[in-house]
């Protein structure tokens, strides 16, 4: 049976793009480039930019990987290329 290989790869790349945008925003964005600005806001005793750089980004990374793994599983099944 011929699979829609092109379609599968397009869907994969689309998901990857989303993952990488979020990955970039929480670390390089909130943790570095915008940190000074975000430090004006506080989260408990944490300045927000500092929190992203030393705590927040890590939590988002974890969620991101599991979300990616789940979505990829869906895409695998949608294009019928999942493992048996």
């Amino acid at each position: 049976m011929q699979h829609d290989v092109q379609g599968y790869w397009r869907a994969t790349l689309g998901l990857l793009a989303k993952v990488l945008v979020i990955w970039f925003i929480v670390s390089f964005g909130a943790g570095i480039l915008l940190a000074d600005m975000l430090n004006g806001i506080s989260l408990g005793g944490y300045p927000l930019g500092f929190w992203f750089a030393q705590q927040g980004a890590i939590y988002v990374f974890i969620a991101l990987i599991f979300w990616y793994a789940k979505k990829m599983g869906d895409i695998d099944r949608e294009f019928n290329v999942h493992e048996d």
């Binding site: 943790g31 750089a53 990374f61």
Partner: protein, 620 residues
């Protein structure tokens, strides 16, 4: 029981445990030796990966550097965790589908070239050996404190132990041992942090304690720390960056892509049963890693506050008569004068832990103004107010030098925690260093015996001969790394960062292009790897000496330190990676495209189905 006996007992017990497991799970065939036979479930693989990953750099060194760097230390935290996102979605599932043992094997097959594989072996060796130098520095610190000897002697002892340990089992022995090591090291890291967080803020979870108020006050811990360090002339804790913002940016990026390019981490994902498991394994690994990584900033900040509190009574951290340290709310609220003469600690009255660390040479006191008291501040400050106050108080320069690499190990001692906690931390530090060193030595031995000797020089070598060659290469790697570790190119975490830069600039781009660019050919990949590696090594060696040998630096040749847009050598890997990509694409454009069957292979690697059929690591 006295402290030293407790340490021997706890460390001894954990070692007996690891060795017991290694014997019980001894590797049989070569495939067992390198890839654990594929019988490792994702959660356990995640734990073992975490142990493999969290080395002396993460455990011993990182929080100390964060304490020194403040906010800028976040680059280690983001860099060494963010890489797992890249690993999980860009590399791991595809390499698992490909189904071979090693990174050079993938590069050799994908780029249909023995040369490509050999170049990858070279990149892998340079990165791994640099990494082990960092480990050796950490092991030296741990053993010097643990045995009460100089840090050099500590390194010699460490070399012997790492060697015996690594040649014992293979990956399988190591996988189960590493699960045990993870458990030891994570308890060792988190327990003292919880104790300290409760003592300072009353909040048990250090992740929340760092953002909480000091007990009995409405001053937040970070606010107090900011105030104390700024008054003493250091940079403000919550905002000081590591060099420029650009440097922090590329440094973080280097660590991230280096994570995804380091062979001993990637190897882990060859050993999971399915492609789907490869994806979630990276997530599980990160969960276990994050427990330490989200605790580390609290450890760093709290240790720093405790250290300043110990040597200066005006900070408001005092000895609790019930044991440990506690917050003196009145002093904290009053913002007592740090420069008052009686605030500085008398050298004669220093706590025992300082005396113990003085023996290692990693903590030093020098009474510059002859008043018999310890003044600990930044005497090179650009903060004029701090400078004026120090001069007015008759301070003649900083009198206390604390090596950043001792902060974590000394942390429970600084906080005057019970002996069993101090012993546990010593055991955890050794577990971290040993597990990573062992994993790296595995990668080195696989690269030399499997990819180089069996693959290139002697294809007919027997299994026995291959294993022997692997063990000999481990021994050589340990000796070289140990020798260079005596004069390390930086703190453990800094040296390890260099290793990440090397992996980032050489291996990561080649693997990425191998998967995501069907048309990338062998000429492009080889040229890219060589360009990325050489430009990075050129910049690093200019700062740190040729192959890290002291005295061979050539900074004037590149126009001074950090001459490339203020980027430090540790951060340069991302630039190297960019060079790698550019060179590869240019060369690829002017040479002929890869053969049809390679393009089919890439298409096939992209699809999970059939993972069991191309199952090199699991065929036995």
């Amino acid at each position: 029981m006295d402290l030293q006996t407790t340490i021997y007992l706890v460390v001894g017990a954990t070692f007996a445990l690891y060795i017991g497991i290694a014997i019980w799970a001894r590797a049989g065939s070569t495939s067992d030796y390198y890839a654990a036979g594929g019988g490792v479930p994702p959660v356990m693989n995640g734990m073992a990966t975490a142990a493999d990953w969290m080395s002396a750099a993460s455990f011993i060194s990182m929080a100390g550097l964060i304490a020194n760097m403040g906010y800028g230390g976040g680059l280690f935290l983001m860099g060494w965790t963010g890489g797992y996102v890249l690993l999980a979605c860009l590399l791991a599932p595809y390499l698992r589908k490909f189904g071979k043992f090693t990174v050079p094997q993938f590069i050799g097959d994908r780029f249909y070239s023995q040369t490509a594989s050999t170049v990858a072996v070279v990149c892998l060796l340079v990165a791994s050996v640099t990494y082990i130098i960092g480990q050796m520095t950490g092991v030296g610190v741990a053993f010097s404190r643990f045995l009460g000897v100089s840090s050099d002697t500590g390194i010699y002892v460490g070399m012997a132990i790492v060697f015996t340990y690594a040649v014992f089992g293979g990956m399988k022995g190591i996988t189960y041992t590493q699960v045990a090591q993870y458990i030891v090291l994570i308890f060792a890291y988190v327990i003292p942090a919880i104790f300290i967080s409760i003592a300072l803020t009353g909040v048990p979870l250090p992740q929340f304690g760092l953002g909480a108020n000091l007990s009995g006050t409405d001053v937040s811990l970070l606010q107090k720390l900011d105030q104390v360090v700024t008054e003493l002339g250091f940079g403000k804790y919550t905002t000081s960056t590591a060099g420029s913002t650009l440097n922090m940016f590329v440094y973080t990026l280097s660590l991230m892509i280096g994570t995804a390019g380091l062979p001993h981490v990637i190897m882990r994902f060859f050993t999971v049963p399915t492609v789907a498991a490869a994806r979630s394994s990276a997530g599980w690994a990160l969960v276990f890693i994050a427990i330490l990584y989200t605790t580390a900033p609290a450890v760093g900040a709290m240790a720093k506050l405790n250290l300043h509190g110990t040597v200066n009574s005006a900070v408001g951290i005092v000895n609790d008569p019930k044991g440990g340290l506690k917050v003196d709310a009145a002093t904290v609220k009053a913002n007592a004068d740090i420069y008052a003469p009686e605030a500085s600690l008398k050298y004669e009255e220093r706590p025992d832990w300082m005396k113990r660390w003085e023996k290692t040479g990693l903590l030093k006191f020098e009474d510059k103004n002859g008043d018999g008291r310890i003044q600990y501040y930044n005497d090179k400050t650009k903060n004029e107010a701090a400078k004026a106050k120090a001069e007015a108080a008759g301070w003649k320069g900083n009198e206390l030098t604390v090596n950043a690499d001792i902060i974590v190990l000394a942390n429970p001692e600084i906080a005057l925690l019970p002996n069993w906690v101090i012993a546990l931390v010593a055991a955890g530090g050794l577990a971290a260093a040993l597990s990573t060193a062992a994993g790296l030595l595995m990668a080195i031995s696989a690269a030399i015996s499997h990819d180089l000797i069996k693959g290139v020089f002697a294809p007919n070598i027997s299994e026995k001969g291959e294993l022997l060659a692997g063990k000999i290469s481990m021994a050589v790697a340990i000796v070289i790394a140990g020798w260079l570790g005596l004069n390390p190119p930086g703190f453990a975490a800094g040296t390890v960062a260099l290793a990440f830069g090397i992996a980032a600039s050489s291996l990561f781009p080649a693997i990425m292009m191998g998967i995501f660019s069907k048309k990338m050919n062998k000429e492009g990949a080889i040229a890219g790897m060589l360009a990325g590696l050489s430009v990075t090594l050129f910049y690093v060696f200019a700062h740190k000496g040729i192959f890290f040998v002291k005295g061979t630096e050539y900074l004037n040749l590149i126009g001074g330190a950090n001459s490339f847009f203020g980027i430090t050598p540790e951060a340069f890997g991302a630039v190297g990676a960019l060079v790698n990509f550019i060179v590869a694409f240019v060369v690829d454009k002017v040479t002929k495209e890869p053969p049809e069957h390679i393009q089919h292979m890439v298409e096939n690697v992209r699809i999970p189905r059939g993972s069991k059929a191309v199952d090199g690591a699991h065929a036995h």
